[in-house]
């Protein structure tokens, strides 16, 4: 019998189906609207693709900013809780998780057993979340991937002093007006440094303990991971698929629950 973890974020839905600790399928779909129906559709579709009958799915855990009040799931767990499970499963030595999603940033501190010791999160302000990158890539007229690649090649020639994304946008424009010769690489590097700085600030409130694991969609950007590593004096690890870690953790929680239910049934 299989279980599923579904992470419904502000920008995307992530789904992981697990059977006996093994990932059968994983999906990431960008969306911002009608999460309930869309999540159900993705689940049914994915089950169809791997030839699994819906009745074969024994337990579903949901998580994520929009993951509450989902009609077809059995349990909701916070992102921090699911991240802890997922990261501990992938990196047993992990002590600090930095998760950067589209509109949130979570920092989770773990003990050696993978239990949560402390958390910090930001979902109130766009500074230091994925939307900062999106705004800047749009401003530079390029893709997130290219901006990340440029940042790796560029020297930092300026720093954004504004905290707010909206002001930072203005600041980059003014900087380009005053320095028309600045390269796209240098601009990207400056932008990446600023965002890394915000995130590092949040993480440092908890204190950085290695290993550090970076998750969430933004972790796919090697430029960000490099700058973040420099700011927190650590070499962060990035999972193969950083975006699905919370969904994977949710699936692991579902497996635990499934086992407990089976045990109770036997005992009963």
């Amino acid at each position: 019998m299989a279980v599923a973890g579904i992470d419904i974020g502000h920008r995307s839905i992530k789904l992981v189906i697990v059977e006996n600790g093994k990932i059968l399928s994983k999906k990431v779909l960008n969306s911002s609207e009608e999460t309930n129906t869309l999540a159900k559709k993705i689940l049914d579709q994915t089950l169809g693709e791997i030839g699994l009958a819906p009745s074969h799915l024994e337990f579903i855990t949901s998580t994520g900013g929009m993951g509450k009040n989902i009609s077809f799931t059995n349990l909701y767990r916070t992102v921090a809780y699911c991240l802890a499970k997922g990261v501990h499963g992938l990196f047993p030595k992990a002590r600090t998780i930095i998760d950067m999603g589209g509109e949130t940033c979570n920092v989770v501190k773990l003990n050696e057993r993978g239990e949560i010791e402390d958390t910090q999160s930001n979902d109130k302000c766009a500074a230091g979340t994925g939307i900062f990158f999106e705004t800047m890539a749009k401003l530079l007229g390029t893709s997130l991937e290219d901006m990340g690649r440029w940042a790796l090649k560029g020297d930092v020639q300026f720093e954004i002093s504004s905290m707010c994304v909206m002001f930072a946008e203005q600041e980059v424009i003014s900087h380009c007006h005053e320095n028309p010769d600045i390269s796209a690489e240098a601009l990207s590097a400056g932008i990446h440094l600023s965002i890394a700085e915000r995130v590092a600030g949040l993480a440092k409130r908890l204190g950085i303990t290695e290993e550090v694991v970076v998750t969430g969609g933004v972790a796919k950007n090697p430029g960000f991971v490099k700058f973040l590593g420099e700011r927190i004096n650590a070499l962060p690890k990035v999972p193969e698929d950083p975006q699905i870690v919370a969904a994977y953790g949710a699936a692991l929680i579902a497996e635990e629950r499934k086992k407990n239910l089976q045990r109770d049934r036997k005992a009963g």
Partner: protein, 261 residues
Amino acid sequence: MYFAGIDLGSRKSKIVIFEDDKLIEEYVGETGLGAARTAEMIMDHALSDTGLKLKDFTSIVATGYGRVVVPFAHYNISDILAHAKGAHWVFPKARTVLDLGGQDCKAINVDDKGRLTGFVMNDKCASGNGRFLETMADLLEIPIEETGSLSLSANKPITFSTICAVFAKSEALAMLRKGVPKENILLGIHQIIAIQCEKMLEMISLEEDLVMSGGISKNIGVVKMVEKRLGINPKIHSDPQIIGAIGAAVVAREKYLRNKK
């Protein structure tokens, strides 16, 4: 005797001229690239309006973001002091000033002599200031001047789940796609601005008269919202954008009178 106050803001630059204690000229222009050039442009405008020459001024005081680079200013003062002085000159009973500018907002307390007794300022976050309203007006494709009156026709207020300008923008976009009427979205935006005002006012002491200044104070929707939430009827000058410049001119005259003694 002539005195000038010049307020170089992030979006608009303002100048006023006093003949002794009488306001004889006011002008609001766009802040262009280069604060010094903007200052010269608005000064030229005021000079040609009044037929005065630069040497006719006894004293010129600058304020605002660009205050340090105004080539012809004798002094410069902080925006906070300028707004305290300006609000007191226009409304002598003013005790609280709420200035909602292009890129910052502030709440200021003044005493019965127009002296500054306390202030808070938000220049870190775009939420609640002019840049925010401008972005939203752009998104809704409504001229910024019309946002206020349009919001008054809203029938169902929308409450945003965020106060962040950037998040609110994506939330507003999602609402537009769902077919929510623009005026209802605007009402929600005005609510965010009013909430930001309340947050600042909580940090100082809210005493009447409350004066509202800055470009956003020209938005009747925001003013009504603040009025409703605070239960206070705010006092607003016919051009709320020139309060800072008035304050600068008042200080110019005060300095002259003090030095004369």
